[in-house]
Amino acid sequence: MKRLFLTLILLLASMAASAEVRVVATVPNMGMLAETVGGDAVHVTVLAPPDRDAHYLEARPSMMAALRRADLVVAVGAELEVGWLPAALQGAHNPNVQVGRQGYFEGAAQIDLIQVGLVADRAHGDVHPAGNPHYYFDPIRMGEVAQALAERLTDFAPDHADQFRANAREFAEQAAEHVERWQGMTEGAPGAVFYHKDVDYLAELMGIEILGYIEPLPGIPPTARHLSELVSSLRGEEGVILYADFQPSRGPEFVSRELGWWQQQLPNQVEIGADSDAYFDLINRWVEAFKP
């Protein structure tokens, strides 16, 4: 018993002594950003795996255990994680990372979102009235988020403030360079059909026309009628069909067969623990796919 008690004390002491800022990121792309900005001064845990749709997770005890010990939560926001993050936070018994506190950081609140103010009615599918939350496909906006995150991290590790800011700036500059190069690559690219509204930011950035979505409404699985209408309206046009690795392939494959269009399934998130190069590679794959 005494030994157990001592172990406990040591454990608690070692945790208190740890200099790293304990960051919990909701999805791998935000984990990458925290890792990039925070460098050695942060320890990042990611709650969602890269190959799952972040809309459709549920709170689990391991999430609560991670949040319990977190100094800072880095979320996508705009209600992307609304189905599970509030429950996980409530079960985490950690006041410091609750919404509204210094330890809760939401990328969506740092930038301008697109598609803000849609009607909040479930008849329109899984809408996000706060705006489209998939800005993580926009490297420029991610650069802005990185700079805001650097400021927030400074609250937790003031000694590393310069490092955080330099890292964020570097990320933003790299993003700008990549985007300029990509915009040259997508010159004259045809329009695209996506599965969900998750590539809209990138399409806008690259000047790609969005010709339609495989989903009839956000979050509603494709129906035969919708696909047939989509095919009828697009017959004779040029385009590509792109969708994420966790999205079902039959709908896109069908449209691809009917229209004779190129279709490709690509990752939506970087691997857990990936760095910014992996992120730019990921975006690069999507950009290349716009003009196969």
């Binding site: 549920e58 689990r60 047939s228 009917e258």
Partner: protein
């Protein structure tokens, strides 16, 4: 095609039955063009329908061949209930109201509570009268008012559950859940939880389902079966361990989820903490008077039950969940409780009053394992759960017979030879597995056992701790199977068959059909 129409029209004119006047060539051409236009439209419509058919076939393949394609596994819907297919919570976890403080984006619900309505109705048919398992008939033989979750035959609208959740301020969250049924409106749960205590502490206060075990704090819409397991109903009471009081829990700062909790509760649940308090037993008799006129006679006697203000029930629990990655989750729990009072009474029309007054205690363990690979609409998800509890009640039994009605002198308890100590030791367990065998569909099997330990000791224990005369009652079993169809995360249709193998009673089949629908935003449940 044009040739066909010209031929057709020519034939029509040749028959002389179409028009009396000669049409001009121009008119004929116009008609032909109009018919061609219609034909093109029809052709287009047929093509669209063909496309739609092919799309339907392609999508069907999508579901059928989903197994072959590991990548194409999107939309999880938790087996049975969940909107989302992650392994963990069976309950649709949806939007909660959150405070609009600094740096977060919400859709404007921040200052309003999230409101949801859940409607639960069923039809049930039994092959025979349903008996209580041997040894468990005294615990809940009295209706203590309010709505119960016991299943009744015929069409039943079990309840409409209205839930309000939200943040009070930066320091507290609140939840109010009212069940509206034919019995009126009853508060099922109404409590506040703290959100800013340090060191992983959290306090919950109000009326709530105790956190002992796993299924106890779930509402009927969270259950994978139409009815609750015997474990919850027979050990704790028809509404589970639902109490008013305070809970303090601590989430340890460990790598694996470890939570300890204690609860100080009023103590009123039928199964383990039934409380009546002292009152007077009253009986009215009408006997013929001297001239044969009816004379009402009333007598009262003290029931001799102890009065004791709450809190009377104290519980504790621990839950542990190792991190098993993104596809698996498991939680183990242990719990126990002590109630300082357990009381019951039965008044017989013969004039006999029986009372029980004592205390009770219980211990138990629970296990839940969930697997979810993110399949389409819950496809491939699996949930296994099992719980066990052992309960012991030590009571003093008194039986008083009011024999002499003419002068209304009750046989005093002091003189009654029928006053003795009793001990009941009983347990119940269940285990169930539910598997999402196709997108939107799941099926489950459940085994209930009650009274594996089912002993009654008469005479209590002597000074050496030896027990008195012992009676062993048999165990009862129930086997249930269910199939659920969940078109979306918000609606569920379920069929269930149960076979009751009751010790000292009829065996009986139960057949049940249920619908369960939810409206609005529902507070996310924590595992």
């Amino acid at each position: 095609m044009r040739a066909f129409w010209i031929l057709a029209l020519t034939a029509a004119f040749a028959s002389g039955s179409v028009v009396a006047e000669e049409p001009t060539l121009e008119e004929l051409m116009r008609k032909i063009e109009a018919l061609e236009e219609r034909d093109r439209e029809r052709q287009g419509r047929i093509e669209n329908l063909e496309t739609e058919l092919r799309a339907a076939q392609a999508l069907e393949e999508d579901e059928a061949r989903e197994d072959d394609d590991e990548r194409a596994t999107p939309r999880p819907a938790a087996t049975g209930a969940g909107p989302q297919a992650d392994p963990l919570d069976p309950t649709p976890a949806r939007m909660r109201a959150r405070p609009m403080a600094t740096g977060e984006v919400t859709s404007g619900t921040a200052f309003n509570p999230a409101i949801s309505v859940i409607l639960d109705g069923y039809y049930a048919h039994f092959s025979d009268h349903l008996d209580d398992p041997a040894g468990f008939d005294s615990g809940h033989s009295h209706a203590h008012g309010g709505h119960g979750h016991g299943i009744e035959e015929g069409f039943n609208l079990r309840e409409a559950e209205v839930t309000f959740t939200g943040s009070v301020d930066p320091y507290f969250d609140m939840m109010v859940m009212a069940a509206i049924s034919d019995h009126g409106i009853e508060l099922e749960e109404a409590y506040i939880t703290t959100r800013s205590l340090p060191q992983g502490l959290q306090v919950k206060a109000g009326k709530f389902f105790s956190d002992v075990g796993y299924i106890n704090k779930q509402h009927p819409h969270d259950w994978f079966f139409v009815d609750q397991p015997w474990f919850r109903e027979l050990i704790f009471g028809e509404e589970g361990l639902s109490e008013t009081g305070v809970q303090l829990s601590w989430l340890a700062p460990f790598d694996s989820y470890t939570r300890f909790g204690v609860e100080v509760l009023e103590g009123s649940s039928d199964g383990v903490a039934s409380y009546l308090g002292d009152s007077r037993h009253e009986m009215v008799t009408v006997l013929p008077g001297e001239n044969n006129e009816p004379v009402r006679n009333r007598w009262r006697a003290d029931k001799n039950l102890r009065d004791r203000d709450g809190p009377r029930l104290f519980t504790g629990f621990v839950k542990w969940a190792p991190d098993l990655g993104f596809d698996h989750a498991m939680q183990l729990g242990a719990f126990g409780g002590v109630s300082q009072v357990w009381q019951d009474e039965t008044a017989h029309s013969s004039g006999r009053l029986e009372t029980w007054d004592g205390d009770s205690q219980f211990v138990g363990a629970d296990l839940v394992y969930k697997y979810g690979r993110g399949g389409l609409m819950g496809h491939g998800n699996f949930v296994f759960q099992a719980e066990y509890a052992l309960r012991e009640r030590d009571v003093e039994f008194q039986s008083r017979q009011f024999t002499d009605f003419s002068n209304l002198v009750p046989t005093g308890p002091a003189d009654d030879p029928d006053r003795r100590d009793q001990t009941w030791r009983q347990d119940a367990f269940y285990m169930q597995g539910v598997y999402g065998f196709a997108p939107r569909w799941n099926a489950g099997l459940r085994v209930d056992g009650a009274g594996l330990t089912n002993r009654a000791y008469d005479g209590g224990t002597d000074s050496l701790g030896r027990r008195g005369m012992r009676e062993d009652l048999d165990a009862s079993w129930r086997y249930s199977g269910q199939v659920t169809y969940a078109p979306t995360e918000f609606s569920r249709l379920r069929a269930q068959v149960s076979y009751n193998d009751i010790a000292d009673g009829h065996d009986a089949w139960q057949f049940m059909l249920q619908f369960n629908m939810s409206l609005g935003v529902h507070g996310a449940h924590a595992f």
